[in-house]
């Protein structure tokens, strides 16, 4: 705790009451007008869950995978990758655009291993701070280079989408998506909104495993959407946060993107490794924009980097090392594919179990949607009041829009959960 003696002497003088210091302390805060922010609707659920002392409590709120014991999982392929990293590599700054290797592998996953667009170097791509960061970079890019554009966001969507484009100051509109009566897709409404939007509009599409509904278009429907996008010259921006996690097969989960690419669209794509590699807190993701040619891709990438530089300078290295080690090593990649399928299969199994439990409890309601929907979330159709009852009477935590995180469902709690849902939804 050594300090230079002259500085120490000055500090002693300063500690003695001085008019300036006393006045400063008596001053009102300069932050008097700063109101408390509302609680984040999703993260607030976990906070409440953690605070609950009940032994029966169940957390089906936040979208993070849990194993059948309700525990967070670190994939074996990730542990192995980390073992190879630990203490070895130095931590020099990545280039502004992030890890080249990680970007290369991410593009292969999204666009296809043999994609001509990759060969032709037509994709402007940067490593991003998971899905959020990728969306935000794109939103800021829109604001800067396409200042007249807006974004059409599905109803409903992940709540942070609204925050992202709002803070980027890009005007938002919504388009029809979810059909409450059937707990499925309102395809006719969706197509109407696509047709009625001005030509050249920007649309945010969930590539697979729509969050929060779990409702995805069929392949046929995707083809029709793509066709209509062509007619209207709309720009498709895909948020792909669950590749591999939805069906268990990354190629299959990228189907919508591939359809659009086949149809000649120039797309944007946000990718996240939070769920499919379990890298949540590592913030590993990628933003890509398919451009006209290599020269344009270089220009666009340079501008994405310009946006990133005053936000965080360059992206964090650790998660990107894990991703590139895994995807570059055939054995590790193969292990990853197995593990991601395992996660997806467990979720699919729990969907089946929840539905069967509800049906065998004699519920008169239809619960088909539980198994029709896909990915981490199930839009149960329950009302906020019913959700409140689940929480207050049964210590079951979920967001008030009725979204159940299936990742939180286990063989140990599925019966309890089904019973509680039945109790609050059964008609008298």
């Amino acid at each position: 705790m050594a300090m230079s003696s002259s500085l120490a002497a000055i500090r002693r003088r300063a500690v003695a009451p001085s008019p300036l210091a006393a006045r400063a302390r008596a001053m009102a805060s300069l932050f008097g007008h700063v109101e408390p922010a509302p609680k984040d609707p999703i993260l607030g659920v976990t906070e409440a869950f953690l605070a609950d002392p009940s032994p029966d409590k169940v957390n089906v709120g936040v979208g993070a995978y849990r194993d059948d014991n309700g525990k967070p999982v670190v994939l074996d392929c990730v542990r192995e990758a980390e073992r190879r990293i630990a203490g070895n590599l130095n931590m020099e700054y990545l280039p502004m655009g992030g890890s080249i290797k990680m970007i290369e592998e991410s593009l292969k996953l999204a666009y296809g291993e043999d994609s001509e667009f990759i060969k032709d170097k037509r994709i402007a791509a940067v490593q991003a701070l998971s899905g959020t960061g990728a969306c935000r970079l794109f939103a800021d890019f829109q604001r800067r280079f396409l200042p007249d554009s807006q974004i059409y966001i599905p109803t409903p969507t992940w709540s942070n989408h609204h925050n992202i484009w709002r803070d980027a100051q890009v005007p938002q509109r919504t388009f029809t998506y979810y059909h409450p009566e059937s707990r499925g897709l309102d395809f006719a409404g969706l197509m109407d909104d696509i047709k009625n939007a001005p030509n050249g509009s920007f649309f945010l599409l969930h590539a697979c495993a729509h969050n929060p509904t779990g409702v995805d278009p069929t392949e046929e429907q995707w083809r029709e959407i793509s066709y209509q996008f062509k007619v209207k010259n709309h720009f498709p921006f895909f948020d792909m946060a669950y590749q591999g996690f939805a069906s268990g097969d990354p190629e299959r989960d990228a189907r919508a993107i591939r359809i659009f690419l086949e149809d000649g669209h120039q797309i944007g794509c946000a990718q996240s490794y939070a769920k499919n590699m379990g890298l949540y807190g590592q913030r590993a993701g990628c933003l890509s924009i398919l451009c006209e040619d290599e020269m344009q891709a270089v220009a666009v990438k340079s501008q994405l980097q310009q946006i990133a530089r005053p936000m965080y300078s360059n992206p964090p290295v650790h998660g990107s090392l894990v991703v590139s080690i895994i995807l570059n090593d055939p054995e590790l990649k193969s292990l990853w594919l197995k593990e991601v399928k395992g996660m997806a299969d467990r979720i699919i199994g729990m969907r089946k179990a929840l539905r069967e439990n509800l049906e065998s409890l004699g519920s008169h309601l239809s619960w088909d949607h539980i198994t029709n929907q896909i990915g981490m979330f199930c839009y149960s159709g329950m009302t906020p009041e019913q959700v409140d009852r689940l929480t207050n009477e049964y210590h079951i935590y979920m967001t008030r829009n009725g979204r159940i995180s299936m990742a939180g469902v286990t063989t140990g709690n599925v019966a309890y959960l089904a019973n509680a849902i039945h109790e609050v939804t059964k008609t008298k």
Binding site: E82, A86, L146, F235, I307, Y312
Partner: protein, 449 residues
């Protein structure tokens, strides 16, 4: 203007005309709106220009391309050993191995980051016994190193102090301006560097801070000013605090080199602590890029010292609200390393040791460079400013043309403002560097200073 843009588009589109076949007949109102007779696959990004190369990173790239044996890279603001290799601190390797053994999960951190890290970082900065911590008056958020911390603060300023201006030193780290520009916070400069003395223009600094509208934000480098290496003396810090108080300005510290400047973590934080002790509300951005060598992990924090704990809670909640649509929650790895190192007394002691060694190496090359310059330069020029500067960088006083001479003739890579990174200098190369500086200073074309 619109029609020439269209013409340009058509001209440029020559090669793909055969492919697309429909370029003609397109008009463009501005970058965004494309009016067309029929839907065609013309790129929306036609008007996106190539961004200029980064002034600092471009230096490293040019260095890599140079085949000359004598080449020296003094551009990079990253610590190098005497062998000019990157350095991973031993204590960091230990922490990572420990973390691997513990096998902790990778769950999302809360928006404000890892609690253990936030506690450690605030204590490191303010001192563990600081009353402001005990009173709960500090809002601390883990953020993406120095840049991310500055950006969060800038976004907060834009939202809650939309009329306010930020005063930044002339010169300052290049990215400061980008950060405030992108956050849409107006800024102006206060005098700082005096080329005549290669020292601090203290009177100019005070005058400019005095002249600014009340309630401005004053961006101060806590220690080891980047790019000049020139820090105010303790007496000067007191006077700076006086004028800031008088004007009801908000002090906003960028602390990227705590421990790296003098070798002592506490001493390097004394400017911040001085302001806090006066009861002022203060913003402080921290980075662990240099002092723990965690560059690419992007670990830092934004701290806001508030008048009451209740205010601190509100401020924290709004900072979170700004972070959520930027990146949701911060990366975990670097935070865990810091928390482990600072939280374990043995590792903390080892860190302080390695910190002193790194700072010590820099002080040694400074001395050797000064000695070499004094011995070799027969002109009688006073090179002692090099010894008065502190931290990783030295502002040599060379202008752009002279800096170019350094590169073109001597294969020494530095930024064009005359800044050299002593972190990239070895004792072995000091004499060569001295020769180059003397030559560039006296013989390099352009107005010598």
């Amino acid at each position: 203007m619109a029609s020439s843009a269209a013409a340009f588009a058509v001209l440029r589109g020559g090669k793909s005309e055969a492919r697309a076949g429909c370029r003609v007949g397109i008009t463009r109102k501005n970058f965004g709106r494309v009016m067309m007779a029929l839907a065609v696959d013309v790129s929306r990004f036609e008007g996106v220009p190539m961004a200029p190369p980064d002034p600092i990173l471009g230096v490293s790239e040019a260095f890599k391309a140079d085949k000359n044996d004598l080449k020296l890279n003094l551009g990079v603001g990253a610590y190098r050993t005497e062998e000019l290799q990157p350095y991973v601190l031993n204590v960091v390797k230990k922490a990572e191995t420990l973390m691997l053994e513990k096998g902790e999960n990778k769950e999302y951190l809360p928006i404000e980051g890892l609690a253990a890290f936030n506690k450690a970082t605030a204590e490191l900065l303010f001192g563990a016994d600081n009353p402001v911590l005990k009173q709960g008056r500090v809002a601390t958020l883990q953020s993406l190193s120095g840049t991310g911390s500055l950006r969060l603060a800038a976004a907060f300023i834009q939202r809650y102090f939309p009329e306010a201006k930020v005063l930044i030193s002339s010169p300052t780290w290049g990215n400061h301006k980008n950060i405030f520009n992108d956050a849409r916070v107006p800024w102006s400069e206060y005098r700082y560097y005096d080329p005549k003395t290669v020292g601090l223009d203290f009177e100019g600094m005070i005058a400019d801070i005095q002249a600014a509208p009340d309630g401005s934000f004053v961006l101060l480098h806590g220690c080891a000013h980047n790019p000049t290496g020139i820090d105010p003396t303790p007496e000067q810090w007191e006077k700076i605090a006086d004028v800031i108080q008088e004007k009801k300005h908000m002090p906003f510290f960028d602390v990227a080199y705590q421990g790296f400047a003098s070798g002592s973590l506490d001493e390097d934080a004394s400017s911040v602590r001085l302001f806090v002790e006066r009861g002022l509300e203060v913003f402080v951005a921290q980075s662990y890029s240099k002092n723990l060598g965690l560059y690419a992990e992007r670990i830092g924090a934004i701290n806001v010292v508030c008048s009451t704990p209740e205010v601190a809670n509100r401020v924290k909640s709004q900072l979170k609200r700004l972070a959520r649509p930027m990146y949701s929650n911060p990366p975990i790895h670097g935070a865990r390393i810091v928390a482990n190192v600072v939280g374990d007394p043995t590792m903390f002691g080892e860190w302080k040791q390695e910190m002193e060694e790194m700072a010590g190496r820099i002080k040694n090359v400074r001395q050797k460079l000064y000695d070499s310059l004094s011995a070799k330069d027969k002109s009688g020029k006073d090179w002692s400013f090099i010894l008065r500067q502190i931290g990783m960088f030295s502002y040599t006083g060379l202008n752009k043309t002279q800096s170019d001479n350094m590169t073109d003739k001597w294969h020494i890579y530095m930024t064009k403002d005359g800044r050299i990174s002593l972190a990239g200098l070895s004792l072995a190369k000091c004499e060569y560097l001295a020769d180059a500086i003397i030559d560039s200073f006296h013989n390099g074309l352009g107005t010598a200073k």
